[in-house]
Symmetry: D2
Subunit: 331 residues, 4 copies
Amino acid sequence: MERGFNIIRTARAIVRVTDLEASRDFYVHALGFIETEADDNHIYLRGLEDQGHHCYVLKKADKPGVEVISYKVSCEEDLDKLETFFAGKGLPTKWVEAGSQRAIGRALRVKDISGIPVEFFCKMDRVERLLQRFDLYKGARMQRIDHFNCMVPDVQKAYDFYIDKLGFRCSEYTTTAKMDERIWAAWLHRKPAVHDVAYMNGKGPRLHHTGFWLSDPMSVIDTCDVLASMGYAKNIERGPGRHGLSNAFFLYLRDPDGHRVELYTGDYFTGDPDFEPVRWDLDDPQRATFWGHEAPDSWFEEAMEFLDVTSGEKVTTEEAKLEKRKPDFVM
Amino acid sequence: MERGFNIIRTARAIVRVTDLEASRDFYVHALGFIETEADDNHIYLRGLEDQGHHCYVLKKADKPGVEVISYKVSCEEDLDKLETFFAGKGLPTKWVEAGSQRAIGRALRVKDISGIPVEFFCKMDRVERLLQRFDLYKGARMQRIDHFNCMVPDVQKAYDFYIDKLGFRCSEYTTTAKMDERIWAAWLHRKPAVHDVAYMNGKGPRLHHTGFWLSDPMSVIDTCDVLASMGYAKNIERGPGRHGLSNAFFLYLRDPDGHRVELYTGDYFTGDPDFEPVRWDLDDPQRATFWGHEAPDSWFEEAMEFLDVTSGEKVTTEEAKLEKRKPDFVM
Amino acid sequence: MERGFNIIRTARAIVRVTDLEASRDFYVHALGFIETEADDNHIYLRGLEDQGHHCYVLKKADKPGVEVISYKVSCEEDLDKLETFFAGKGLPTKWVEAGSQRAIGRALRVKDISGIPVEFFCKMDRVERLLQRFDLYKGARMQRIDHFNCMVPDVQKAYDFYIDKLGFRCSEYTTTAKMDERIWAAWLHRKPAVHDVAYMNGKGPRLHHTGFWLSDPMSVIDTCDVLASMGYAKNIERGPGRHGLSNAFFLYLRDPDGHRVELYTGDYFTGDPDFEPVRWDLDDPQRATFWGHEAPDSWFEEAMEFLDVTSGEKVTTEEAKLEKRKPDFVM
Amino acid sequence: MERGFNIIRTARAIVRVTDLEASRDFYVHALGFIETEADDNHIYLRGLEDQGHHCYVLKKADKPGVEVISYKVSCEEDLDKLETFFAGKGLPTKWVEAGSQRAIGRALRVKDISGIPVEFFCKMDRVERLLQRFDLYKGARMQRIDHFNCMVPDVQKAYDFYIDKLGFRCSEYTTTAKMDERIWAAWLHRKPAVHDVAYMNGKGPRLHHTGFWLSDPMSVIDTCDVLASMGYAKNIERGPGRHGLSNAFFLYLRDPDGHRVELYTGDYFTGDPDFEPVRWDLDDPQRATFWGHEAPDSWFEEAMEFLDVTSGEKVTTEEAKLEKRKPDFVM
């Protein structure tokens, strides 16, 4: 790595929820996450293929919000280099020492270029992988965390920062000649899949959704049936459907606090150095959601606020710099 | 049969289309119907499991419309008994002699109690069954015809006629105490599945859709992908989704002339004499489309007009007798 | 019905098992049958779509065996007519009065032409249908009972009796010119599917398997995974695969006592009076199991003995009249 | 990379076939590979997600054999470094200049530590990606190449070379205390999936199979049906089934010349630096093929010979160093 640090992949999110029991019903009993452990204020969830302790943390709080989104890095040294890099850019950084967070080692928290609280760590406790305990599979049969999708007012700025400074690569993006080809939305990755993080033009910074990987389309269909029979039909916001962008088969859900979760299966390999990003024109009617279904307004307008990495207060949001649109093909 | 005649099942529909080639593209190339044969004015389509010559006839005409919906009966004698029965009720009947329609024997056409042109026949030419020619499967992998769904202004009248006089049985129905339990919609069958014909309260008589059976849910998903990649995304009107009523996994399509086709898989056995019909309350919010997705307005408002069995003119439609609604759970 | 009685469908089997708890683990926890109720000596199982109390009874006994296979008839009067018919043929009959069997009304038990203990009844207690309780689905997501498959030494005799006397119809059969077209195996139905009962040439009478209906192929695949993760890999005897005959997607399992269960999905409609049975030649190498996999010897040789309807002792078996074969395509 | 070169992934194989037309029928018409182009002596095949010109080359020859297996590297400089590395080990190397092979740039061919002809290149012509042309999907809906599996007489030697010298990582391996924990089989990767190459103890070096990625299990099932209906049932050698190792859902086929192809879907992410390889004991009966089906002898004994990178003659094979076994769980 010319940058001196090596970000591996999307690793976990810590989301604030107002009722742990209601969240457990949704994530564990309905969606089929594995509950690694819990205490009075947290539930630690993992997917069926995870060797790591968790990939999603539900943290009890008075109001919903997103505390941090985290990436796994290669080694301890990477954390120091990242601290140097962010501090050098004048961006706030904060160390969270090993032992102060359950199951992970030393972590670096920063405020990124868009104001998003981002965490980096390299060590997480290992637990039993349950990939072949099919008798425990239920609901969505959650395999692993896949990506974050963030709404930000200036996608181009986030894009430039993550591509040029952090070493992410772009798999697909949306733009238009009318906007001088400024990036309207972009899918960026470190692992060789479609994304670890996507940025969409919109009021932000806000977390639009966290995406989780499923092994096949029938798991998505079965999830709809299970959710509906448990009284969660209203939590199905969009889909199932096929994304034009990414080609993934998807379903969007809202948890009891409004956090959006995407079930996602079927993208492709992007690891070739000469992989050529796919361009989608914002104005091209052919680029609509692949099956032509319109997404609901809530999907375009609603997203979850972040908490400031230093103050813990809600991060101030700004309106989008580019024209706001409701293109059907954005995911 | 105490009635003296034995209706077996939904057998075929004859629909008028304005452009045979455009219809062929949709039904044969995209959906995967087998084209048994064609002439200048007709295309005869069958499903993969059909031993019979066809189950759907596309007939060239200036304007779209539905010429007739047909049921297969047990034997020739049934036709005579049905003629006697309908004539005795003062309902118009017409014989179509063997040889005058491609591949079927003598047929009786009648105007039923709702004004719908209905045909009965017992003989159809046999052709090669292609059920195990998986190399020919494409698109929706259409297996067989399943049912008709008709909008009529007086569902109770159609229900009474088909149940009491024609020997159909009811699998599921919609009503409400507010309407003195008058039937708002009903699913009626002769074969032991959910339906051969359904009636829904609405302006009519009109054919809402013809339903075709698929062998599994992935065939529905694959159909969406194939349609979208062939430029037919706009022809996907509703779904995929799960019906509360019938429990079937469904997709609604509109053909190039606006004829609605349902792809349908997964109902259940209804052949027990003591099978108890499932009642759905029109006002019960719990009875919504199983996954909670709202159907588009077009699905509730648009349907195809029938042609009069005697005159060949469009059958006059009337507004619905009961309150018109857009309940999500009707299918 | 010219015969005066109307057999509706395959309804239930009563199988003897040596360890109720071991059987519960297999059928309920692994395969996902619904346990309607149990007492010290019985477990009553039903499928997800059943309105009836049960379709499979596990009865505790010292040794495994099959007590009876049952068909549902249309009405009480049918039972009397069947009693008259069987008695008239000199075949043993026995009434089991209402109240003496859990959840069913008066039942007629007979020894059929092959020596098989067969039961007829028309009434069964109704229970809640769980078809849309997807949150309860697990394992194979058992939908309903589908058919019995019996090994008998003289298939032609069983065929003639069920076709000519009991009003069954044949969907598919195996024969060969070398055997003067005598029936080697036959699939017979009352409901309009491929079968309610099949007879195969072999040492018998013995119950080869009871078939249960699943809604889609992925339920078969998921069953294999669940069984394997619960330690039941050795109970998977054959499949998954595609039958040439019937076209069904199948899996054969052995329960802890050796009772064979088929998971079965995907056959076709056979209710047309002019449906033409499919003939398979025993010697035609093209007729092999559709994907060409050979079935294990155990599948051809092992089957479960019946208990005499009168004495309760094991029914004496005889060797097959026709040449024994191991054709791959028999199911 | 401390080694100074960066191998990206499994890229292509060149296999010799005796009848191009027979091969086209199998790979293109039955399995659904995309034929990018062909000349009198070659057919160039790619998967549905490929941006690259091909991932599998059929080359006409008198006798079947494997000319080379290829990996994509990051850049031109990597090729030079690899040449220096192999030459330094005394292993034969050969440059194939740009322009001399269809659609790829300069390539380095080497004889690896096991005697296998291996090729490295970084540039391949780009072509239209057909991932969303679902109307062109057929057969197995081949997505992309995934891995090679080679039989070698000394797995430990290959393992050490690829891990220590070429920077591969191990995801899963088989060993046993009885053999002093010497590696019996190993799955090695550069891309963060289960493997780019696997080595199994056996007579070799020979290519056991080339694995291709499918997007979901139903594509595997559908492939069996399509192959069988096209007369290729005999080409289905093993499966469908679930691997214990890798957890993938698989099917093994033999092409008209005996080349073995694996259809493969469903492995997991292995990109974490602290990912812990899964150890399987050769003697542990619990580690059998997940569903317990035994693989046929042909699968353990037959494999395809390589051609020497320098002479073009068949590479001499040796018997396996470790005990030969037929453990069910090897894949």
